[in-house]
Amino acid sequence: MDNDLRVRPKPKFGISDDAEDEMLQYQELFQRSNLQPSAQVVREPTIKRQQSNENEDRKKKHSNVDLTQTTVMRPHIIERDVSTTPIQLPKLVSDSFPRAKHRGGEDDLDKITLPNVKKASLFAKQMYRDGKLKACKELEQTKRPAMNQEISCSSLLTGIGLGEVTGERELQRIHDENIDRLKSMDEKEILDEKEKLLNSLDPKLIAFIRKRNKKGEDIIRTVDKGNVEKMDVGNETVSTQLPIDIDSRWIHMDSIEYEKLEWIKDLPKPSVQRTVDDSHPEGVPARFDFKGNLMSRTVDVPVTAALHHHGEEPEAAGYTLEELFHLSRSTVLQQRVLALQTLSNIIRQAHAGIYDIELQLPLIPKLIEAGILFLIRWAMDEQIEAIYMIAIECLANLIAPKKDEEILSKTMHWPCGYYEPVLTPAEIQLGDKKSESDLTDIEILEQDLVKCLFRMNLFKRIVYLFDRMKLLSPLTILNPVKNTFHILIRMARHSMTSANQIFEERELMDFIIREFIPEIIIPKEEGHIYEHLLPEALKFCRILASHGSTLAYNLINRYELHQRLTNHLVAAVNLSLSLQDNTTLSELLSLWRIFILHGHMANEFGSLIPTIILPLCRMCIQQMPHLIISKILIQLITLFDALIVYITKFILKHQKSSEDSTNVINWSHIHGLFDLILTIAKQTLIETDEKIDLEALRTTCLSCLASFLIGQQLLTINLLDLPTKVRQIRFQLFEPILRLKSTKQLIESIKFETAITSTNTSANLPTLTQRNTSPFGFLIALLRFTNIMYQIDKSLPDSSKFISQLMLTKDSEIVVYIKKMLNKLTSSVTRKTPWFEQYEHIFLFHFVQIIHQEKSTHDLPSIYYEILLTLLPSLLKGYHYLAQEILKFVLFDLSFWKRSNEIELADLSLVTNESLCLASNESIKISPSHRTILYERAVEHLPSLYTYYKNIFHINRSSIDLNICDIHFGNLLQIDDSFKLNIHYSQTLIDLTWPYGLLSSLYTNVFSIADNDKRLDIIMNTLRFVYILEMKNNIILYKMVTKTTRFAMIAGIYLLGSDVFLEKNVADYLVAFLNCFNEQNLLQKLETRTSIQSLMTFFDFYRLLVDQYEACSFGDVLYSNYLLVPLQQIYDVQLRKHVWIEHSTILKYLRLKPDQILFSLETFFIPYENDPDLIRYYAQVLLNGTIRKTIQPLLYMIAVHHLNVFLYDQTRTEQSDLQRNIMKNLQMASRNDKMLYDEIVYYKTFSRDGPVIFESLPLIRINWFQKLLQ
């Protein structure tokens, strides 16, 4: 002991040699000491079991992929039931110290003897005396139950209602009490009492109790019998069922334990029963095989397929997701790898949309919700290769669907295809947290999966794994390395912030560039990955660079990428004779193209053209009919395209400055490319190899030639040469392409093609989900070329009409397509634009534009204009220039707007007045002819409206949003240097309420203008344009803007200033709008409980409108009309109460006459008012003279009408008190104001001239009247 104390303690977790011995020693010591551990496993009683049973039941009932119940990820925490444990409050003591416990006299203890114990200790005796000895208690208890057992517990009382534990306890207490009572009575007494009870109780009840007692016994009996029988069966029959004969010579098999040999029997056949069972109306859990295919339950799969396992249903083959989740956390390596592999396959298939029909719920969101991301991330932390490799694959499959990347790479060479989607989910909601860093991982995961990945120290791990994999055999690591890049690429796509964050991970970036874009070229050895150029690494750089010019510049500068890329390009051309297996070259070229589009590395490329690029082209053309070669050519030509655009832009910008430009690339560098591209394009007409994507090559050639012509025209270089070039292309390329069979097929297929919105994506992980490529890339290129051709040769569209002949065929596929598209665009108010639809937008604009040029004498059908206008709110953010062009095209085409309208203006017979007098004493005409004049006047303003709306499109546009799209459409002069090559995948340029322009931002005070004239301008412009659209019955207003919004946007004009509505011009339109709405019955179809699009709720809006009316309306007739619209009887009573009761001052100056209402009068009277509060208030304002017939005729008539109807309503028995009350008050008041009394009592009906009155009351009314007054 002393020795121990003197020894210095050793560090607990040191790496000393004898540390292990010491540990063992400690352990031994611990075990010998027999100490109770401080924490113990407590076995929960029945409750837990039941709960888990419930859980299982729920799982089964719920959908087949409900993984939220996976217990180990977020274990259910079951509270221990402590309701039975007595709670001992600490005793209060008056002393400063608790008193020591006295054990009592020892002499007493001597006399005590414990039963059944020879010699008891003093302590035991004391405990016995105090009744605390457990053993003793048990001994005593054994005596007692002997009596109780005879009387079984009541079968009637179950105590269920009292709760699990208290119920039982209470039951026992009642039982004990009964027994005590019985004990205290002798037999005769008991029998007497029984007789008494039997006589007094209901015989039915007695029969029930008796039956119940009997039943209880029966049940016990059958159970017993069952047990016995089962045992018998076990002994006799099982032996014959064993699939093997038991040899007596086998050791330990002399006595056979059949129960333990159950497992060697065959599995039961897969049962159909479970699938069609009534207990699973919602379906069964999905089961998958190792490839991720869904397994049918009914199919008898051989057990050798290894799909059977000891699960809940051993007969069903395959694994459920729940089982896979379980196995993927197994400590057995094989199980874990197998589970992860299967999950990975399942995810891949789910992204491909294979399960969309079979499964009830989308799979990916469910998997994410169940926490698959954490599962994968943990697996990535393993040291075992097999596990982390499969984890990487699983993650890559989860976040980066292969199909998305595939289709993106196919659309990359299309016009505008250089845009990369920015896949950021909706902005993160902080809830009640202050900043994003306060949110937990799970909260982030729910909103943004990739952001959650950033938090998981993924990059450090990736660098480590890259480093480790370097030592392994190249064959095994090829896929993991590629998958790692897929992960990185997807993370870089997330947002600009994410891309910068990745770029700032120096270790990772250095490693990638060093190993996968090496400076020194080593001749390709089979299967080597490290220290060689990897296409995925190049793509990764491309995605990073797409996030902006600055990032691209930093990337080039930090790693001297221009040097590296040049080396590789040179090596590719010089070192290898055959390009046919060079898969990296096309990726390298497309990276270079992105750099050039950003304005970097163009000079370097220019200097390479004569020495490297031209020989490369020649090599390609020679080896042409080959898949990879055509890929390289496609990239090469799109690179030329980018170069032409860059040079055009550069020269335009520096034309005026007299800088020294000898070393800079200029037009002469690329002049020779024209013939080269034309040659390649002609080549595509000759080739007939089906496998090669000739269409793509044609697309790029056409696009590049168009850019070339645009450049030459813009820079006015050799203009005389242009028409020759056009003719050359037309005869050698363009017309032959039009005649191609495949072109015709493409156009025929167009009616089936439109981009789809995905259903399987979860909000936190946006994907693109397009299944196949559409023909629009080629068509855009074709149309774009046609357009520039028509621009150069102005006589061409009149004479040739290429596109009309090609596309407007008899079957008119295009028209079918446009109609379909129109339906799709207007299908829902909350539609999201699918990523690949942008090409359709461009196509539609080009198409209409060209058709317009070709049909110079005839008018275009209205549908073309409508589709263009409808397109606007679907344009993705970044297509400012396209929006502007569309607007220009539509607004400036007066032939469309001046076309006679189909509907004749209805005669407003409702209104007797020809004009309306405003508060400012100005009179407004309300005749139909005046409305036509207004329309014509508005149409005259269209050119100025174009400027107004164009500016609106640009208001939300920040400089970083400036896009290369503008370059593409020839808008070269307005380009800044800092732009990016990507667009958010779903954000649109403008919202659906765009025709209302700045009004909504004026209403919310976002946009404040002090200048009155300017504000008036905005209002007038908006009113004019919306009025034109309303009169044209335009589809955007009808389908995309709700009726409530349409009304509120116009009524909101009154909120914009205390005198705006007094302007005659504004009032003119406000009257016209009210008529317009009235004609369309819109004023009766508002939805007052909804919100106004991009604004507040309707109720809030109306509140503002009322406040404004109260403050500065001067009781204006027109304003009163707008104010009264939501007060019609069909709308919410809250609105009426708001005006009549809460803002009763208004009643003083709502002096409208019935014939001044510009819409239907009836709806103020029918249906009748039901609300007793309002009725009471009507009576009040009439009686106290707030409302008088002479001053507020309309309000007076409304109040009298509803009061009269209420008083004579004989069905309202529950409100007869109120009726009587009002009647009495009326009679009292009649002494002062006989007229009011008469009007209310004798009122017959309403009219535009005022109330109509009974000459003499009908008999039924008189009777009722008498009855009320009694």
Partner: protein, 117 residues
Amino acid sequence: MNAPATFESFLLLDGEKKIVVEKDTKVPNAVVFTISKEDHTLANMLRAQLLKDPEVIFAGYKIPHPLEHKVILRVQTAGHEYSPINAMENAIKDLIFEMDMLEDRVKQAIANRQNAE
């Protein structure tokens, strides 16, 4: 920290007028009163008093912004003979009279009470 000073709601700035009277250019017989450093307490009372006047067609006020301590009161009367300014004067007189009467009655009531004790 950047809360406005408390006196801003009731102290007139240098050179600031308590009340500015402007004729409304567009509406006949209408006047816009801008009363500085007042709020609903005064404006609501004035409006109620004005609306009791049968010659007043319209009386409404608003507070342009919660941080601008002023009310804008618009008044319109029926005929030329009786301008909104007259109406306003009458309303103010009536209100003052009413207040005086209220004061008197309160004082009298207190005196009665004291005498009784």
